[in-house]
Every structure is written in structure tokens, then in C-alpha cells.
């Protein structure tokens, strides 16, 4: 990968609000080149989406998250893609991953309450023909989300001046 592109992606992954002008200063490019590069990365799908990581606990929102493990049976001529597509279209489903190991697919589901999540899984996911079994694990606390630590990060204590 081109080093400049890597720089741009890392900067945006760390803070999507960084302006093209600032990225230009950080990468020794012109702001116009940065904007064009970003547009291209968006067009080609390298940059899929910009989002914000919110600590909902701090504003008193009590949404419930759960990780759901699914075992699935594949139908003839239908791979995992087909069942994944069936599942990820539900807005309650925040992530869908195909995994190696004892089960096949892992989902993260968000709901207003444990009951909400449980009913969603029972009614929408477990009832799908391809789904053999489900195992639901409610999230009690999130310490780190997508690389961001959700409490005060470590700080380094340095002398104000050193050799």
C-alpha cells in the first residue's frame, strides 16, 4: 500500500473529523490531493462509512447488547453469504461475523431491554430455516470498543524537559 494512503487511512480511522487541510499538514500533501484521495477511497469502498463511538452509559442510555452465537446448516447452492445477508438486514443486528471453531456465525445485537433482545433472537433469528441453534450472551460492560478504551486512557508522566 502507498505510504501516503496508509497515513490518510490511519488518521481518519483514528478521528474521522480530521479536515483535509489538517491531513495535508500531517502528510506533506496539498489539501486538494488529500480530498481527491479520500474521494477515491470512498468511491472504491476502502472507506466504507464514518461513525462515532459513543459511551451511551454516560448519557444514561441503557440499551442492551448481546453476542449471539449461531450454528447454521447450509442449503444446497447457498453459502454463508446467503444466511449472513438474511441476518444483517435487521437493524437490531450491529455486526455479523463468520468464525472458525465451534459455531459458525457471531452476531452483536442491540435492543432496549434484555427482553427485547431475547424476543428478537427467538422470533427473528432462531426461526430461520438455516439456523440450527443459538446461544445468547448479554454484554454486562464494554471496556474497549473498536480500539477505543471507554474510560480514561493511560497517560504518560514525563519530565517537562529532558536531554
Amino acid at each position: 500500500m502507498d505510504e501516503k494512503i496508509r497515513h490518510i487511512l490511519e488518521i481518519l480511522e483514528n478521528d474521522a473529523r480530521t479536515s483535509p487541510e489538517e491531513i495535508a499538514s500531517l502528510t506533506d500533501m496539498s489539501a486538494q490531493d488529500v480530498s481527491q484521495t479520500i474521494a477515491k477511497l470512498e468511491e472504491t469502498g476502502v472507506i466504507r462509512h464514518y461513525k462515532t463511538i459513543v459511551d451511551w452509559d454516560l448519557v444514561g442510555e441503557n440499551d442492551v447488547y448481546a453476542v449471539i452465537e449461531l450454528k447454521v446448516t447450509l442449503e444446497r447452492n447457498q453459502g454463508y453469504q446467503a444466511i449472513a445477508e438474511r441476518i444483517y438486514k435487521f437493524p437490531e443486528v450491529r455486526s455479523v461475523r463468520l468464525l472458525s471453531g465451534n459455531y459458525d456465525i457471531s452476531l452483536t445485537v442491540r435492543g432496549k431491554s434484555m427482553k427485547d433482545v431475547a424476543f428478537f433472537v427467538a422470533e427473528k433469528i432462531a426461526t430461520l430455516d438455516q439456523v440450527q441453534s443459538t446461544s445468547t450472551h448479554f454484554v454486562l460492560k464494554t471496556y474497549k470498543e473498536d480500539g477505543v478504551i471507554l474510560h480514561e486512557p493511560e497517560t504518560i508522566q514525563r519530565l517537562p524537559v529532558s536531554f
Binding site: H7, E154, S162, F163
Partner: protein, 393 residues
């Protein structure tokens, strides 16, 4: 009652000869000030990567708290041999050509004491790290200063070096990538220096602690050049590349004769480097590449940001290709380095180190470490812009 005395009379003359450090003076000025933004810190602002810390913790849990070989843990020396062979094709024997030290500072001290006889001349290339000159003085040597210049992007040229060599010259201390200028040496430039070294039968102490922080081109170890391995002791460490400053771990690589002689001093003064840090260093070499590269990319971005910022506010700054220091020129403001730095601290609460702390060749410049967050660099630049604008009025 026995009479009291003045204990200072017991201090050796050679210690009294050490000039006070310009950086230490600044440390005293900064102490106690609030809302200070510091570009004066010569160490990474990253915490040691977790996997390295975790390995140190694990070693303590296992009770690995003993002395090691005077030379350092064999596994660490093996890993260094592999690392330097992989990086540069260098071939150092882990059993006789590598010494693990307590930071590069110790490596420098014992390298100088190993090589220098009283009265020997040692060439120091300035602007330079503050420890070189006192190390030579303490060893009874005579420092001879060679200056690098902005026009050469602070690289050392053979033309500048040649006139400083006399029949008393024993060694040269080199430091590229350089603290404070950020300068690096090209392979061609180093070849010219190597020719002079061989021609005049000299030895080189090459402090390459910023080796991994090379942003443009590729670092060339002096010892990798033809005929230079036995004429060079390479000093290096883990502080800058792996953000391990407080763990105090360095190493020296050189001929068995030099390394053994350094070990003779080391075994009586330090005995061995701390085992916990050595275990962390093994982990750093084995699995630290990604984290190190991540930090280097971040420094690189800040480098562009700060250099562009200085040039924008009218403080001309040549492009530092290594280390994490920018070295802008402030001589056109009508103030000396020290005046500029002191007023900047006093009026704007920004710490930058006056260039003359690194030798006369640094006069007119400031050392600004970009081992600081982008936010801090941005704020510091804003305050400096305001300061410079007021000077112009």
C-alpha cells in the same frame, strides 16, 4: 567537637570542569509553571507497548530478578544478532561482540573510557547531544569541535571534518540520526567520512539510538561500510524505537577487543543491565515491529505538521529526516537562542530548548521535540506565531 569542613573540596577537578547543562537550566526555569506546553522533552510520548510491559510483568511474576551475565542475557544478544543481520546484513557474534548496557548513556560512558587516554583528542560533531563533551572530559580526553551547518542540512562533511584531525586525534563521536537537528547521513557522505577515518587510523563511537526513526531513505550503520566494523563501536538502545526510556536499556556492538574492554569497566561499575528490561527488550525485538512502525508513522505525521508550521510562521526550518526533533532558525528575530527560548517560556508558556545548549553551532536555533501530541504541537505553534508576530512589531 571536631571541626566542620567544606565538602566541595573533595570533588575531583575533572568533575568541576563539566560545564552546566543548558537543558538542566531550563528544567529549573520550567519547574512549577502551570499550563506549559513542552516541546522540550527528548523522549517518546508513547507508553511502552503493552506486550513489552506484559512480558516484564510476567518475568517478575516468575521471579526472574537475578543478575545476568555481565554481557547481558544470551537470548537478547542472539536476538540482536539476528535483528541486525536481517536489517543490514551485519554479522555480530553474540558471545563476544555485543554488550548489553544500562541505557545508551552507560554505553557511551564506557565506550569513551575504553578508547580515550588522557590527552587524546576526540572529535565531537556539534550541534550534538549534551553528554558527548562531558564524557570525553571525564575520561581525560580533549574534545575537538566540528560544526555542521544548515546549508548541509546538518550532515557532516569530510571537508568540515578534515581540518580538525591532528596526530593526537583518537576517535570521533557520531550521532545520526541526530539529536538535536534530526539530520541523517547519506551512504555517500558516510563513505567519505569512512575514508578519512581509515586514512588517519581513527576509531568511531557511533550513537545510532534514533536508527529506527528514519523517515526518508534508509538508515546506514557506519559499521556496515567496508572496513568499518572493527573501527566502530555502534551504540544503540530501546528507549526511542520502543518507547522504553525508563527501562534503561542499551547495547554496544563492536569488535571482541573493544567489547571485552568495555565489559571490563561495565562489570565493575554496573555489573549487568536490569534483567526485567532485558526480558522486555527480547519481546520488543521479537514482536515489537508493528508497534514501533505505528509510532514511527505517527512521528512522521507530526514531523510534517511541525516543519510546515514553523515555515509558515516565518521560522525557517530545514527538513529533519530522522529522530523526533525539528530545529528551526530563530536568528532572524534579533534574539539569541537563549533569549528567544526564555522569553517564549516566560510570555507564552512554551518550552523549547535553545540550540546553544547543544554547542555553539546550535546558536540561532531551537530544538523542538515533536514527541508530543498534535494538539500540543498545534497550540505551541499558535503561541509561537503570536510571539514571533509581536517581535516583528
Amino acid at each position: 567537637m571536631r571541626p566542620s569542613c567544606d565538602p566541595s573540596k573533595f570533588v575531583a577537578d575533572v568533575v568541576k570542569e563539566i560545564p552546566p547543562s543548558g537543558i538542566r537550566r531550563f528544567f529549573d526555569l520550567v519547574s512549577g509553571l502551570e499550563d506549559v506546553i513542552s516541546l522540550g522533552v527528548g523522549e517518546p510520548d508513547f507508553i511502552t507497548p503493552w506486550h513489552i510491559r506484559e512480558m516484564c510483568i510476567h518475568s517478575l511474576e516468575k521471579g526472574q530478578t537475578s543478575y545476568t551475565s555481565n554481557y547481558g542475557l544470551p537470548e537478547l544478544r542472539d536476538e540482536l544478532t539476528r535483528t541486525y543481520y536481517r536489517r543490514y546484513g551485519l554479522d555480530y557474534d553474540p558471545s563476544s561482540e555485543i554488550l548489553i548496557t544500562t541505557g545508551v548513556s552507560e554505553a557511551l560512558d564506557i565506550a569513551v573510557r575504553t578508547v580515550v587516554n588522557p590527552g587524546d583528542e576526540v572529535i565531537i560533531v556539534q550541534p550534538s547531544y549534551v553528554a558527548y563533551l562531558p564524557s570525553v572530559v571525564l575520561a581525560g580526553g580533549k574534545p575537538v569541535i566540528v560544526s555542521t551547518h544548515r546549508d548541509d542540512e546538518f550532515s557532516l562533511t569530510a571537508e568540515a571534518l578534515k581540518p580538525a584531525i591532528t596526530d593526537k586525534t583518537k576517535a570521533i563521536i557520531l550521532n545520526f540520526p541526530n539529536n538535536p537537528t534530526g539530520a541523517i547521513m547519506s551512504k555517500e557522505g558516510l563513505e567519505d567520512i569512512a575514508d578519512l577515518v581509515v586514512e588517519n587510523d581513527l576509531f568511531v563511537i557511533s550513537d545510532e539510538v534514533y536508527e529506527c526513526l528514519t523517515y526518508e531513505g534508509k538508515h546506514v550503520p557506519l559499521s556496515s561500510l567496508d572496513g568499518m566494523k572493527e573501527r566502530t563501536v555502534m551504540l544503540n538502545g530501546f528507549s526511542k524505537a520502543y518507547a522504553m526510556t525508563g527501562l534503561r536499556l542499551g547495547f554496544a556492538m563492536g569488535s571482541p577487543e573493544i567489547i571485552h574492554s568495555m565489559m571490563m569497566i561495565h562489570q565493575y561499575s554496573m555489573l549487568c543491565a536490569p534483567i526485567t528490561a532485558q526480558i522486555g527488550a527480547i519481546e520488543a525485538l521479537r514482536h515489537g515491529k508493528d508497534e514501533m512502525e505505528r509510532m514511527v508513522r505517527e512521528y512522521d505525521r507530526r514531523r510534517h505538521f511541525i516543519v510546515r508550521g514553523f515555515n509558515r510562521i516565518g521560522l525557517e526550518c530545514c527538513n529533519p529526516k530522522g529522530a523526533f526533533y525539528a530545529f528551526p532558525y530563530v536568528g532572524n528575530t534579533g534574539l539569541s537562542s537563549s533569549e528567544f527560548a526564555e522569553r517564549l517560556l516566560d510570555e507564552k508558556k512554551v518550552v523549547a530548548i535553545p540550540g546553544d545548549a547543544f554547542g555553539e553551532a546550535g546558536e540561532g536555533f531551537l530544538r523542538c521535540a515533536y514527541a508530543a501530541s498534535i494538539n500540543d504541537i498545534r497550540k505551541a505553534l499558535d503561541r509561537m506565531e503570536d510571539f514571533v508576530d509581536r517581535l516583528k512589531q
